[in-house]
Symmetry: C2
Subunit: 467 residues, 2 copies
């Protein structure tokens, strides 16, 4: 075969490309050797494997070099992410989650109940209220009239339009139809929101203590949560300065979640707006999970009222209407972001079941139910707080909202995990250890998703075990 | 500050690591320059950007080098994947899908119907049958008795146990409880199955024509579909030799889907078993999508009866029981794989709605409904085939199963996409162009999810437009 000049040239170029590729892999191997040496040194000197500062300066240097040599930012960050995982691997570090999932304990409790054990469930993040009668009936009607087909990934137009009306009525917010999406529960709203705006090798700010899904999602997509820790001493209020300082060169989003699970904290609108300003200054998307918006006992700022330039509101029917087992939520964002979320929905799920969407429309009209649920939760917060006030083994901040209390044991060296296990075994009470929500070994979460008397009995048993 | 010897040494190592990292990025830039030159050359010489052979040899070389220098296989493949994407970017190639999604046309048709247009919908992959009455009633009963809570990600034990019984009864297959998972539709079964066994930079074999979800999922997770093309001339039968040759060094799975959507093909158990042998020889996981198992009009091999060493069966309630809008499916695999799928479910979705799971149990008991649906579909295949036989503008293979016919226009240079648009505009009939299922510009899919008379009228209009 006679090669043309172009073919010969192409062959030569391909050989050079292959050589460069292999040279790249050789360098990765060399980098691993260096990292392995550093690991042994750190182990000898008892230094931690992770060093945020070292990573941050690598991120900056990589981004600068990529820009200099014409490599895309996302490719550079992805490769760096793989290099950092390799470093950890050769140093014997786990890439694992590092947090305890409330779901593990949940499965265990469900299994015990199935085997006939009577438990006081202060662990599960779902209200015990019945879903609105109108919702149940609308679902049944829709089922009986064969509303049992695929729908568009965005949701049926009747529901997206009802959501637009609801957002307008409740928050004075005008959303276009293409800025709204119905999601498979709050979970998929959060998952697809984070996956839409945070790429592999990038980072998002998360304020602890918090529901683990944000951090778990970030880790699953190869991104890094940058954690801002809040404490009981500071009444769980985040420092805006610390947030501003925590913005790394590869940070693309910040997750806000007020009323907060597990602390019940609601931050003031001054703080909320100051955080939004930080986000705007650094082009971060504000992802605001407002799942507990209707269990708020002081004014709760919403991202819909903020000046956030880029935001995603994640909402759910689970808490306000006690519809956890319906798996339906929604999100509001720019068309560009919603389109990405639609692509994921389309690929992984198709849509929320059609008849459930008809039920969701009725939920949006069931305002009285929400008010009743909210009032009941407020009474529970008051009653459980009063009961906790009688225990001098615990300290806590009375929640501003949500449906949890997050007490901390005064005892030095207290392990909430060990305590939770003992509490379940000896007192048949489930709580979630604080380690599920961040570095809170001394705290545990009490969910208020049970009738008042059950809650009080649970707290009494907690008190008895603490002594 | 006085540095210890270890600290000084660590500092030195970190500087070397940083230098190596930057050197790596510089090399990526150099590789991009070479790729850009190659791109210009290819463009001048009118050569395609992609070259499978070149990529394959890179994959092999990278894997060998990684093994030599102590870099993990997955890290090497991930980095190579990013390098290849960068090459395509600088060469102006799109990383996009390249296939037309049936969902786009679906949304368009739904919108037209909403605006009052009467259409003959031969595009949608869902049966028009009502779901079994027992299923609807079970869902309503469960709703009314407040089965409206979170369940374990695997599904309620009553349903997983019913699935075990069903698998035993129907396929003689004994699945352990931890080998079964209830999924949010067949889509999430497929998505999580593929994501569980195919990593970024890896590859899976897909036989075309096919439902686009397998290829879309692979691309979404940064993996590559290796496509085996089948043709009408070969009655849509794949060549086992071609499959064996197509196994690349980074291939980890093969997707089988019989009865096939869109061709209706069912391969013989000899071919099925030969493919399974290839998979076993190369340690591939066989992902078998058996969504249309009950619309099979000749013996249809199941992976449950095969000798596959590693497999995932994806099943769904959508087709057999006409429950598309319930979004419930299931999967069977080893505990190890199912655990990975559970992690994804837990993170993204929590569970399938509780009351729907109670409905699904009743579906498994509704065997008579399945038989009726299957018989009706068979009649439609016969009737539509007879009608098509009268059109000498089309050729087709009579389907062995599923609920589609995939005819091909005899006309040279026929564009199914243009035809589908014209058919919708002039005749109010929707079909899905063959390009949605692979490189089949001359073919289109006729879905049989409509009453016989509607189907026949639709085919008549197709015939009229073809002339």
């Amino acid at each position: 075969m006679i090669e043309t000049e172009e073919e010969a040239e192409l062959k030569e170029l391909r050989e050079q490309i292959a050589k460069t590729t292999i040279e790249l892999m050789r360098l990765v191997g060399e980098r691993n050797s260096l990292a392995s040496k550093a690991g042994k040194l750190k182990s000898r000197a008892a230094l931690p494997i992770d060093n945020e500062q070292v990573e941050d300066s690598l991120v900056s240097a990589v981004m600068a070099e990529c820009s200099r040599v014409g490599v895309s930012r996302s490719a550079g960050l992805k490769i760096l992410n793989t290099l950092l995982s390799e470093s950890k691997r050769v140093q014997g570090g786990a890439a694992g989650k590092g947090v305890e999932s409330p779901m593990g304990a949940f499965a265990k409790a469900k299994e015990m109940e199935r085997l006939g054990k009577k438990l006081i469930r202060l662990d599960v993040g779902e209200p015990d209220f019945k879903p609105p009668r109108a919702v149940v009936e609308a679902c049944c009607d829709a089922l009986l009239s064969s509303k049992t087909r695929y729908t568009m990934p965005r949701g049926i137009p009747e529901l997206t339009s009802a959501l637009q009306g609801y957002l307008k009525r409740k928050s004075g917010y005008d959303a276009n139809e293409d800025e709204v999406i119905v999601t498979t529960g709050g979970r998929f709203a959060i998952y697809s929101a984070i996956a839409a705006v945070v790429g592999e090798g990038e980072s998002a700010i998360v304020i602890d203590p918090n529901w683990p899904a944000y951090k778990d999602t970030l880790r699953q997509i190869g991104a890094k949560p940058t954690i801002i820790r809040t404490t009981l001493e500071d009444s769980w209020a985040p420092s805006v300065e610390k947030i501003a300082e925590a913005v790394r060169p590869n940070t693309t989003a910040i997750v806000l979640s007020y009323p907060n699970n597990p602390s019940g904290k609601i931050i003031g609108s001054d703080t909320f707006n100051a955080i939004v300003d930080v986000a705007n200054d650094h082009n971060l998307t504000v992802i605001s999970d407002e799942a507990y918006v209707d269990y708020a006992y002081k004014d709760c700022p919403s991202v819909l009222h903020s000046k956030a330039k880029q935001f995603i509101l994640a909402g759910t029917f689970s808490k306000s209407w006690s519809m956890t087992g319906f798996r339906v939520g929604y999100a509001v964002s720019s068309k560009h972001v919603v389109d990405k979320m639609l692509d994921m929905t389309s690929l992984m799920l198709t849509s929320v079941p059609e008849f459930i969407q008809y039920g969701a429309i009725k939920a949006l009209e069931s305002e009285a139910v929400v008010e009743t649920n909210s009032r009941t939760m407020k009474e529970r917060i008051e009653a459980v707080s009063k009961e906790l006030d009688g225990l001098d083994t615990l300290e806590y901040i009375k929640p501003d909202g949500a449906m949890y209390i997050f007490p901390r044991a005064k005892q030095q060296g207290f392990s909430a995990s060990a305590f939770a296990t003992k509490l379940l075994e000896e007192k048949s009470v489930n709580v979630t250890p604080g380690t599920a929500f961040g570095e809170y070994q001394n705290s545990f979460r009490v969910s208020l998703g049970q009738p008042k008397e059950v809650l009080l009995e649970g707290v009494r048993r907690i008190g008895a075990l603490l002594g």
